[in-house]
Symmetry: C2
DNA sequence: GAACATATCTTAACATTGTCAAGATGCATA
DNA sequence: TATGCATCTTGACAATGTTAAGATATGTTC
């Protein structure tokens, strides 16, 4: 009651945050396509026009949720990288943390990268939060290749991108459905991650 | 004129295909979010209700487009794998072909994997077309690991998934924006692919 | 060729949506 | 206490997805 609905005050108190929470709840229930600004307002106990005093439009609500998501991912990555001092182990932990974030927070991941098919990445706040979340990977690769960044910077970027693509691809295939839809689902996702990260990262450079 | 608009006949002739073509054109122009069934009908020169005689709803139009996309990808993968006989080279060619497909047919890729945020993967036709497109990768990995599939099948699945995740991740990061938005865009995408596939696949197992 | 069944298309309507303009209400500050 | 600002509401607008009922062409059967 106190969480979802309105208070009895005319001024809601913290409508902005309430809208963001209910936005997530709604997407969890009905998917991003069935998500409606009006219904978020309804659930939050305010009129359809009320959200416009806190977000310029529907897309900006989603952008705000995406920023929250990136902050959560950032936090998860930070914790993961703190578990190990060895850069190789650190890298593997980061990868697992990335994929598990997508698995455990499917909705966030969806909004962060797919949004409402809107170009969320032009939003400076989103970009910034995303950069922070990605910095852990970059730092760890810097530890792994102290020399790489100096001479051939493109080689460093490629290394970052290789790792990012790997885990982002796995996460995307899971979140978007094809992986769960395929019979590969027999393997539980967590074991799968270990298997794959082992296969991809154990070899030599990572 | 003949392509986009209607014919003078009452019966359109091939409205189904016309709708699919204009669906793509519209998404190219306005993005998936700005895509409207009514406007597709308008562009095609028919009434708003006409498409419902060819597709059950908006999602099924997109599903049909997705199937077309997977057939194109299938064809591209087939050509790529035929260029080499060595399985290692073949695998690299498949990877490059996958990513380049996403880059050159952004809209198709978007519809195939993101759709309208709808669960396209429950559609049997989509699933089937996707499996075909993926079979080339599976076959090539089978060639690489003749022994893998027998004893430990999960190891084989993991190998397939590792490669798929790699290229799908790269493609997704490009299509969804983050890669183009980041400064990494300095590197042209094609060189980037070569760099990454080289880094990821040259090592040992692939 | 005429009659008829069927596929294809249109018009008209419905509930819903995102968004905006104008007005109401409460809060804080002078 | 009076004034100004942030917050919320009501009411409206055009647009959308979708359906029902009716019109028109096409092809098949006699």
């Amino acid at each position: 009651m106190a969480e979802t609905g309105r208070t009895d005050k005319y001024h809601h108190g913290d409508l902005r945050q309430t809208l963001m929470n209910n936005c997530l709840k709604l997407i969890e229930d009905k998917g991003v396509s069935g998500f409606t600004l009006r219904e978020v307002a309804r659930i939050s106990g305010v009129s359809a026009a009320a959200p416009y005093h806190h977000f310029r439009n529907k897309t900006e609500l989603l952008a705000a949720v995406a920023v929250m998501g990136f902050k959560m991912l950032d936090e998860a990555q930070r914790k993961a990288s703190q578990q190990f001092s060895n850069p190789g182990h650190k890298l593997k932990a980061l990868g697992k943390s990335y994929v598990m974030f997508a698995v455990n927070h499917k909705v966030y991941f969806h909004v962060m990268f797919r949004a409402n098919n809107e170009p969320l990445w032009e939003n400076a706040q989103v970009m910034n939060a995303a950069k922070h979340a990605l910095s852990h990977l970059e730092n760890t690769i810097r530890e792994l290749y102290p020399e790489a960044e100096k001479g051939n910077s493109s080689h460093f970027q490629a290394a970052v991108l290789t790792c990012w693509s790997m885990v982002h691809g796995l996460a995307s295939l899971w979140v978007d459905g094809p992986l769960r839809a395929a019979e590969s689902g027999k393997l539980e996702i967590e074991k799968l991650i270990d298997l794959i990260l082992g296969q991809a990262m154990t070899h030599r450079s990572f």
